[in-house]
């Protein structure tokens, strides 16, 4: 049923539909509405879930890790400094191969009291061993959370998943969202009791974070890597099943928009993608053969897909809401460029940085990125990294 929801409210609805058993959430702008909504659902008796009250995000992650190994389906949400504070137990959760889903509502990190948007927080966790899904609006966020549980709990995967929602531009945007029926969700996502990994019934003690060293340790690292990589196979299947039940799908690891006959591409993720599609439609009307590649899964990074989509294009302009400090470019740009290195027939790559702090990724900025990408494709000497914010 269509309901007007903010992305934060949509995330809370998804957690409820997933029948989470345990949640621990520490409030932080712009995520707080998620924690409030989940707490209200529990208080009203609409959701049978234990809420662990904690004093900070480090304990959030630690406590739900414990709950998850004990067999619960767990949920949390955070943002910015909260995510940074969780960094250590996040690595622990991934190393322990614990299935769980967390929503990161993106926000600038601490410098100059950045309470506004930016994906710097999420980008800084890219090597924690978590899976990362990047929806573009509230509907896709709700749907991605449901898919994230399927991925996380897949016996061949068993890894925590972060679903990223752009602070303010998604979290505080209200629009009609199709909230599925519980019965549909139950068909897609079986109750966690059917997937329980740990049995305490025989009274035996269990240890959950074995201490290993040397080659034994590396062996687990390698297995973790394989499991992450395996997601590239599992995810399209999960999405297909999702489509069969709910009638919606988003295009797999990388959504392609008008790419088939394109000579140029823009690349985005998250909430900037909608306006980018609009600009692409307008540019197409003006005779510019351009398309959009939207990265939906950042971890594992869809290298093969990116190479396939970029091959033969003249130029690609990548728009990022985060900065690789120490290398003047954005994270999406850096990874795409690494993916195509040493491949043949690859485009010229440009990095655009925009939408940080209270700055908006505007139509005009995206249009400018289109113009510069086309110029680069035609061999003009365009600067590699450009900050659109002063234009």
């Amino acid at each position: 049923m269509l309901k007007v929801l903010s992305s934060n409210e949509a995330a809370a609805q998804a957690a409820k539909l997933a029948r989470i058993n345990v949640a621990a959430v520490y409030p932080i702008t712009p995520q707080s509405q998620i924690s409030e909504d989940v707490s209200k659902m529990v208080a009203r008796g609409e959701l049978d879930c234990d809420i662990i009250e904690v004093e900070g995000e480090h304990s959030v992650m630690s406590s739900i890790t414990g709950a998850a190994v004990a067999g619960a389906r767990v949920f949390t949400a955070t943002s910015s400094l909260g995510l940074a504070y969780m960094n250590e137990p996040m690595m622990f959760a991934a190393g322990m191969r614990v299935p769980m889903v967390m929503v990161d509502v993106t926000r600038e990190t601490s410098a100059q009291r950045g309470i506004s948007t930016s994906r710097q927080d999420a980008a800084s966790t890219r090597d924690c061993g978590w899976l990362e899904i990047d929806p573009a609006d509230g509907q896709e966020l709700l749907d991605s959370i449901l898919m994230a549980y399927r991925l996380s709990e897949d016996p061949e995967v068993l890894l925590p998943t972060m679903v990223v929602s752009d602070g303010f531009f998604m979290s505080h945007l209200y629009e009609p969202v199709d909230v599925p029926e519980q019965e549909q969700v139950d068909r897609f996502l079986a109750p966690v009791s059917e997937r329980r990994r740990t049995q305490f019934s025989d009274g035996k003690a269990m240890q959950f974070a074995l201490s290993l060293s040397g080659k034994d340790y590396i062996q687990y690292r390698y297995h973790t890597l394989k499991a992450i990589d395996h997601v590239k196979e599992v995810f399209p299947k999960v999405e297909k099943e999702f489509e069969e039940i709910f009638g919606r799908s988003y295009g797999g690891l990388v959504e392609e928009y008008r790419t088939e006959d394109a000579e140029y591409l823009l690349m985005t993720n998250g909430s900037a993608s909608g306006m980018a599609k609009n600009v692409i439609d307008a540019a197409r009307d003006a005779g510019i053969p351009i398309g959009l590649a939207r990265i939906r899964m950042f971890r594992p990074y869809p290298r093969e897909e990116v190479v396939r989509i970029l091959r033969g294009k003249k130029a690609v302009g990548v728009i990022d809401r985060s900065i690789c400090l120490g290398w003047n470019c954005g994270h999406l740009f850096q990874e795409a460029r690494a993916a195509i290195a040493c491949e043949e027939n690859m485009p010229k790559m440009l990095s655009f940085i925009d939408g940080i702090s209270t700055m908006d990724i505007t139509r005009e900025h995206i249009e400018l990125a289109v113009g510069m990408t086309v110029a680069a494709g035609n061999g003009e000497p365009v600067q590699e990294t450009n900050w659109l914010s002063w234009e």
Binding site: L2, V4, P30, A111, Q112, I115, S116, A136, D137, Q139, D166, F168, F169, M170, H172, L173, Y174, E175, P176, S271, A272, S273, G274, M275, K277, N278, A282, A283, A286, I288, T358, D360, I361, T362, R363, E364, H365, E367, L368, V370, G371, M372, V374, A375, E380, P381, V382, Q383, N386, W387, L388, S389, W390, E391
Partner: protein, 298 residues
């Protein structure tokens, strides 16, 4: 696709107003995506919200720079140039006020201007300056695509029970008491050429920041906020009841109450934001909150 921008003050329920309009449009088979501006929102400070209206789900998540619709929730926003920035000539303005000249003198060219004395109605209906539902009602009057039934249904289905009676009454009065002015607009509005036609090979670099690092005493960054412009009510002292205890001054959140030479404590109205904390805390009930409009008349 039509763009909508809403201007008002924190505490007037603009976010709920936007959400309610979105629900109302959904009832009418249309999609409205709304997003408030963000920042440190406080009761009384300026608030802006953006909306996009379409027959299809809206895919853009950005602010609006060229609104076709403007909804002004508070008379204090009528005289601010920022309120009208980018307004598309021939668009529709729904404003809280009574004098169309106040809007037209700002240089905008609406094809339709709908004015409603929202603050007066708000005080009559809710006893405060909560104009959101009144302006939603007036918006229905201005925009025929949104029937009043769709709005009333949105209120009934989505607002908390204890707000419904006043919300419905406010919306209905906003709709019925609004005055509609229409204007003929001549000439086409020329859209800006797309930015890809500019031949840019490198984006601009920023100027060097004031400090090498964000350190410094910040003295030249200190700004004084005219919190006095936020108020819709002000504290009025009844000297006969006042015992000059100074409790009001202690509690005033912006510390604008000072002791005068006669020993009485009075608010500096340049800064008093009309929150009413002083009147609430006064043990002798010597302070009364009186509507600003009473003083404007005088």
């Amino acid at each position: 696709m039509k763009e909508l921008r809403m201007h008002g003050k924190g505490g007037q329920g603009i976010v709920v107003g936007g959400e309610t309009l979105s629900n109302a449009f959904l009832n009418a088979g249309k999609f409205l995506a709304v997003m408030p501006s963000y920042g440190v929102e406080r009761r009384g400070s300026d608030v802006t919200a953006f909306g996009r209206l379409s027959d299809e789900p809206v895919r853009e998540n950005c602010m609006c720079y060229e609104p076709d619709y403007l909804v002004i929730f508070d008379p204090s926003q009528l005289k601010k140039p920022a309120t009208y920035k980018g307004f598309v000539p021939g668009g529709v303005i729904v404003a809280c006020g009574t004098d169309p000249e106040e809007v037209l003198s700002m240089g905008v060219k609406p094809s339709k201007l709908v004015m409603v004395d929202g603050i007066r109605i708000a005080y009559e209906v809710t006893g405060n300056n909560l104009t959101n539902m009144i302006m939603c009602g007036a918006f229905c009057r201005a925009v025929p695509e949104l029937p009043m039934e769709a709005l009333l249904k949105a209120i009934e289905e989505n607002l908390p029970k204890n707000f419904q009676k006043t919300s419905i009454l406010g919306a209905q009065r906003g709709h019925d008491e609004a005055v509609v002015y229409t204007y003929e607009i001549h000439g086409e509005h020329s859209k800006k050429a797309p930015a890809w036609t500019r031949h840019v090979l490198a984006c601009r670099e920023p100027e060097k920041p004031r400090y090498e690092a964000p350190w410094g005493n910040g003295a030249e960054k200190i700004v004084t906020v005219d919190t006095g412009t936020w108020k819709v009510v002000r504290p009025v002292l009844t000297e006969e009841s006042c015992i000059r205890c100074g409790i009001c001054a202690t509690y005033c959140p912006i510390q604008c109450i000072r002791k005068g030479e006669d020993g009485y404590f009075r608010a500096d109205l340049d800064y008093c934001k009309g929150c009413g904390v002083c009147a609430y805390e006064c043990p002798k009930k010597a302070l009364t909150m009186v509507q600003e409009s009473e003083f404007r008349k005088a």
